[in-house]
């Protein structure tokens, strides 16, 4: 026959196991209701009772709701509420940091016994506050249908258990608040992306709708729209990729696509994989657009035998990685040197250099233009 000591040792071991199991579960669970129901099941097991429940202090602090529980009749969990004042057992426990023990409800005088406990034949109970960062979360309640004593081990167990539960609930709340903030932010970013696209479309429509009857005005409009579209395309690559970086090869392919003649292969692009910051991608899209437009009008892409080779390399240097991008036209017609003061030239040299912190060079070689730009990758 088991002695009292054996039984106590057995109970302590069981309570240790329950704490360990709940500890493990609490930090894996994603769902608060599931967590609380599991908490009720385990605490009942640890105290060797049939019923337990978790009461949540509702916003406003006036009422406690039975949020989770084990072995209660239908209509209790999720429905029954108690006053949060000292009249109910749980309300009374809210005002106490230590577990509140009621060994015999028949002689209990500190609070009134709610009908639901009487209906379930509850005789003894313990209520423990579940603390929280900003006020208590609620109360953990252990209910026995027979009269029983709760000793120092039970109290210690319940105190530890309630603290563990409080930490788990707090973690849930923080996790959810963070998830919500992240969701809000991503909605905001999507909205912003949408507005950027809309704004660019609006500018495009305004330019299209602005009457341009004279040839000079049409040249202005078409040049402007070409540049705007090149910029919009780079912007879309950034926005659609939801990334702050763009693969250079993808950017180059998109940028030269409008200049591909029917006989594909006039433009050859080659270089190692390389991710560029969005900022750099925008200016490179404009540079490639400018070069492509010029080559189509006056350079290598204006004749069938003309070719354009676009290549890039990355060099590791003491001060960081350096990118070298080159546009080389071959087989183009004889053309006069480009206008040094034109906006296109300014964009290719000064502006690109300014934006990329780099050095750009435009040369008028035999067979067409040669353009080189070297700039730091700036990725530390």
């Amino acid at each position: 026959m088991a002695t009292d000591e054996d039984q106590t040792a057995e109970r302590l071991r069981r309570q240790q196991d329950v704490l360990a199991e709940f500890g493990l579960h609490a930090f894996r669970s994603r769902d608060l209701d599931e967590l609380l129901n599991h908490a009720a099941e385990l605490v009942a097991e640890g105290c060797d009772v049939r019923r337990a429940k978790v009461l949540e202090l509702l916003p406003g602090g006036k009422e406690l709701l039975v949020r989770a529980g084990v072995n209660w009749n239908p209509g209790v969990v999720g429905h029954v509420r108690f006053g949060a004042d000292g009249d109910s057992p749980a309300g009374y426990a809210l005002g106490h940091h230590e577990p509140v023990i009621s060994s015999d409800l028949d002689t209990e005088t500190r609070f009134k016994i709610p009908a639901v406990l009487i209906e379930h034949g509850i005789r003894s109970m313990v209520n423990v506050i579940i603390a929280g960062e900003n006020g208590p979360f609620g109360v953990l309640e252990v209910d026995a249908a027979r009269k029983r004593e709760f000793d120092i081990h039970d109290i210690s167990f319940l105190r530890n258990y309630a603290n563990l539960l409080a930490a788990a609930v707090e973690r849930h709340r923080t996790h959810n608040a963070l998830a919500e903030a992240t969701r809000d932010q991503s909605v905001l970013i999507q909205e912003l992306e949408h507005r950027v696209k809309n704004m660019l479309s609006l500018v495009q429509s305004l330019a299209n709708q602005t009457i341009a009857d004279e040839p000079a005005a049409r040249v202005f409009r078409d040049t402007f729209l070409g540049r705007l579209q090149a910029l919009a395309q780079a912007e879309n690559l950034v926005l659609d990729g939801h990334a702050q970086e763009i693969e250079l090869e993808q950017l180059v392919r998109r940028s030269i696509e409008p200049f591909e003649a029917a006989d594909a292969g006039a433009l050859i692009a080659e270089g190692p994989p390389l991710r560029l910051p969005a900022r750099s991608a925008r200016i490179i899209a404009l540079v490639l657009h400018e070069l492509g437009t010029n080559a189509t009008k006056h350079g290598a892409l204006s004749v069938p035998e003309g070719r354009v080779r676009i290549s890039w390399q990355v060099e590791d240097r003491a001060e960081g990685r350096q990118v070298r991008l080159r546009w080389r036209e071959e087989g183009g017609p004889e053309v006069p040197p480009p206008d040094r003061r034109g906006f296109g030239t300014r964009l290719l040299t000064n502006l690109a250099g300014y934006e990329l912190d780099g050095q750009a060079e435009l040369k008028h070689a035999v067979g067409g233009l040669e353009y080189r730009i070297a700039f730091p990758l700036g990725d530390g």
Partner: protein
């Protein structure tokens, strides 16, 4: 930006510093100011470059962008104030997003810039005697 607001020589002989990271906007501002007779210092795209320039040169006034490649231009504003150089803050941010003490008294010209508004702001900042 249109140049319609620029009256030739309105800024004649004025040395104006342009601190702006966007190459297109900086070149636009540069052209606008030059067409009004100003001498443009810079443009410079970073806080570091602006501070370096201010160590050796003292402009009559400055045009200052708020966000310079992800960095607030507050240190430049402070250096300008220390050197008693008036400046116009040229930015896409609204006044409610700017709370640094260095910008409390600043004239804000919002982007996209209208030449006439920028010119008026600069004229107010610069002493009339020239």
């Amino acid at each position: 930006m249109t140049f319609s607001g620029a009256t030739t020589n309105l800024l004649s002989g004025r040395r104006l510093l342009v601190v702006e990271d966007d190459p297109f906007i900086s070149v636009d501002l540069q052209d606008l100011l030059a067409s009004a007779g100003a001498v443009v210092l810079g443009p410079v795209p970073t806080v570091r470059a602006a501070l370096a320039l201010l160590e050796t040169d003292r402009p009559h006034a400055a045009l200052l962008d708020l966000n310079l490649r992800g960095e607030r231009s507050t240190p430049v504003a402070e250096a300008l104030q220390a050197a008693a150089v008036p400046f116009v803050l040229v930015t896409g941010y609204s006044a409610s997003q700017i709370d640094e003490p260095a910008f409390r008294e600043a004239t804000i010209v919002s982007k996209p810039v209208r030449a006439s508004i920028l010119m008026r702001a600069l004229q107010r900042l610069l002493p009339t005697a020239s």
